[in-house]
Symmetry: C2
Subunit: 227 residues, 2 copies
């Protein structure tokens, strides 16, 4: 049986990347469409679903083709299937969202791939503006009740670095002392014993993420997420 419906997989990829002034900005990579519909407009990286691959694997593969990295976090966002979302026929898109480390992202040479500030996007193809908006909402909501922020960072980091990730994503300043207390209460971080030296001020501790603590509660779908 065939339903006459095309099935696609797309991914909203988040990374913290420095802008012109060197400030870290929440960014996503987009791909310029080279054919109709919406030729010339920017769109989320993605493509047709593969018959032999899991949907998450397809999302991760498309993500790697665009950014050259393996995502630190990958989760299904939503399945978009309104009948009129593509003028070229019925397309149902299973959309994932991912977090990658900004310092791991390769400099893309392809001129049809570019990074954009997540809060300042042009008009995108299809319903991709709505999709990004929803992914942003999920990221911000989940950041406040889960421990996914370290996916933007390396294996070890200071509390200030982690707090800055929260501040950039949530776009509001956080009290350093209260942030510390909250993180310590969650038992999600373990001090490595090492300190960052060479700074102008009191040397901060280095922390490692404690993998024994579930970073996200997805209920029975525990496999969804961490990679």
């Amino acid at each position: 049986m065939s339903t006459g419906i095309d099935l696609a997989v797309s991914t909203v990829i988040f990374a913290l990347r420095p802008d012109a002034e060197g400030n870290l900005v929440l960014s996503i990579p987009l791909v310029r469409r080279t054919r109709d519909p919406f030729e010339g407009l920017w769109a989320l990286p993605g493509g047709a679903a593969d018959a032999t691959e899991s949907l998450a694997d397809t999302a991760a593969r498309k993500l790697a083709e665009t950014t050259g990295v393996t995502p630190a976090y990958l989760e299904q966002l939503y399945c978009f299937g309104e009948p009129d979302r593509s003028p070229s026929g019925r397309v149902v898109s299973v959309v994932y969202w991912a977090l990658v480390r900004g310092d791991e992202v390769e400099l893309v040479t392809d001129e049809n791939v570019a990074w954009f500030a997540a809060d300042d996007l042009p008009r995108l193809a299809f319903d991709h503006n709505l999709i990004v908006e929803y992914a942003l909402w999920r990221l911000r909501t989940k950041l406040e009740y889960s421990r996914i922020a370290h996916a933007f960072l390396g294996p070890t980091f200071t509390l200030t670095q982690l707090r800055q990730v929260h501040e950039i994503v949530l776009q509001k300043p956080l009290d350093p002392a209260n942030f510390r207390r909250q993180i310590e209460a969650s038992r999600a971080l373990v001090p490595t014993g090492e300190h960052v030296t060479g700074g102008r001020h009191r040397p901060p501790r280095l922390y490692r993420y404690d993998a024994s603590v579930e970073l996200v509660d997805n209920g029975p779908l525990t496999s969804a997420g961490v990679r």
Copy 2:
């Protein structure tokens, strides 16, 4: 283009229905499969996606065919697409979950449709046991931070009725006084001014749900949900 993937829509339908002793039980309707794969096993109501209909409309239509009612709440649950979830070929299922009023549900005459206690299911076809488990988790999680419980009830109800819905779904007793305080703080209910008379005790107030308060926060996807 065709991906060689079948797209299906299924729904986990929740209702509170009386069991043999008259106690309300969280229940879901299942359909017996009449052909391979998994012939004879029970499965979630659903079918192939329709090329001209939105996914939510397809879910609602299949729901109506099974239960004869319009859902009081309908939301997308997840898109299941593991390559090996169906032995008959690659099937991707967009699964919705719904709440319906138990007293609205028609007595189904079809012997291939039956209601089961959500917590005591037989082995189901495909990965439907996992899907129901996830839907149950979502229902219980969402019940605690949203105001969807009234979807199980009629337009007006008492606080005790609403609390009993919570108690049955969450499977734990709730303090009546604290429940009242929490509900009143949410400003989601409006007293109608009427009382239920005829009871043996102090006559309880009747409440109506305040539609001006968002019952669920789904971010930018506000249309998802309420019907």
